[in-house]
């Protein structure tokens, strides 16, 4: 009895998983890391012992920059104030969201651990610099253009901070995380 050879699978009916393996892997790792990290920072203890002190540090640095610009601000925890305006830096304004999105994107992308660590170090620093500019700019917007504050606060600056994270990720992927060439089909 002879066995018939199995018919070759045409490329059009290639299994969904094999066809979109790279997309599915990236998205699954990205979403798990993102959901996990944001659930973690929503735990009260983590918020009180890690996020709040970190945010207070951002407030101190922002206050120092505003002082250099002649604003004579005082700081109280996460609040920056002067006689004309006050802001309270809260979750969503401390750059942590952009950092975690960047972190998840870098870790989900196929690259060596050395490239990932380099990307995380430089990327997180760059995102915090952009966020510092955001806090200072928002404080000045509140003083000089108060009508624009709401739109500036959410729509403009959140978009710019996330955009900076996405651009940094593309730059990192291109410059430091070149994926190995695909193996030839067997």
């Amino acid at each position: 009895m002879s066995r018939k050879p199995a018919p070759a699978t045409p490329p059009s009916v290639e299994p969904f998983w094999r066809r979109y393996r790279r997309e599915i892997t990236f998205l699954a790792v990205f979403l798990v890391l993102l959901g996990g990290s944001f659930t973690l920072i929503s735990v009260q203890w983590v918020n009180d012992h890690a996020i709040e002190p970190f945010t207070a540090g951002i407030a101190r640095v922002s206050g120092a920059v505003l002082d250099l610009l002649g604003q004579n601000v005082t700081m109280q925890g996460t609040i920056i104030r002067n006689p004309r305006f006050a802001v309270n830096i809260r979750n969503g304004c401390n750059g942590v969201e952009a950092m975690l999105i960047f972190l998840a994107a870098v870790l989900a992308f196929p690259a060596s651990w050395r490239s990932r660590l380099l990307g995380l170090g430089l990327g997180i620093l760059a995102i915090q610099v952009v966020n510092l500019i955001r806090v200072v700019a928002l404080f000045l917007t509140g003083i000089y253009f108060p009508r624009l504050f709401d739109t500036s606060h959410t729509v403009i600056w959140q978009t710019l901070v996330i955009l900076s994270g996405v651009l940094l990720w593309i730059f990192w992927a291109n410059r430091f995380a070149a994926p190995a060439p695909a193996e030839p089909a067997a």
């Binding site: 790279r22 998205l27 990205f30 993102l34 969201e97 996330i162 992927a173 070149a178 994926p179």
Partner: protein, 200 residues
């Protein structure tokens, strides 16, 4: 002797063109989004209200649009002096559309028809996301923001569900949705392009 790989410059590479296109597209996309926002806010409020009515009995929630950016949550079963329970800035739910459309329009080397078709799918998914986010926003207000009324009408599980759900949808998933959808359509192409350049 091993051949040295040519140094990759960002400017000439696929990724460099992508970054350049993103920077070129963002302002025109922003202007279009700003022009369409009042109309889209009205649509979201109406559709969101219908979604909420499907999930409650008796039907008591109204979402009243005020101005170009805001909607008031009104409960018809509350006394008139307290019936407006909270305002939502509806524009804040969907400003990530700017980044989403910019990313989809900026991909180099993709025919316009395919680019627009992918963008249309992504926007459609985003619209469902906005409705879900608006639903969670209102439920979050009901479950956690109305003091003793919230405690009397929502148990601990529901309060945590709507609290965490709103937190996750409103921050990480809203902010990362453009990248997630872009990656779903284009991460494979990106990897191929980068591999092609690194092996050239």
């Amino acid at each position: 002797m091993a051949r040295q790989a040519p140094a990759r410059t960002v400017r000439g590479s696929w990724a460099g063109r992508l970054i350049r296109n993103i920077l070129l597209w963002i302002v025109p996309v922003w202007l279009v989004w700003m022009a369409l926002t009042p109309l889209y806010n009205r649509f979201l409020a109406t559709a969101g209200e219908n979604l909420l009515l499907m999930a409650e009995s008796p039907n008591v929630t109204d979402l009243l649009v005020q101005g170009a950016h805001t909607a008031h949550i009104q409960r018809r079963d509350f006394p008139p002096s307290r019936s407006l329970v909270r305002s939502i800035r509806v524009t804040d739910l969907h400003f990530h559309l700017v980044l989403l459309a910019t990313l989809f329009l900026a991909v180099p080397g993709v025919p316009w028809r395919e680019r627009l078709s992918n963008l249309a799918w992504a926007v459609l998914i985003a619209i469902f996301f906005h409705l879900l986010l608006l639903f969670f926003w209102v439920k979050f207000v009901y479950a956690t923001q109305l003091g003793s009324w919230s405690v009397a009408h929502y148990g601990p599980v529901a309060r945590n569900l709507f609290g965490l759900g709103k937190h996750l949808l409103d921050l990480p998933f809203k902010l990362s949705l453009p990248l997630v959808l872009w990656a779903a359509f284009y991460i494979g192409r990106m990897l191929e392009e980068l591999r092609g350049e690194s092996s050239a």
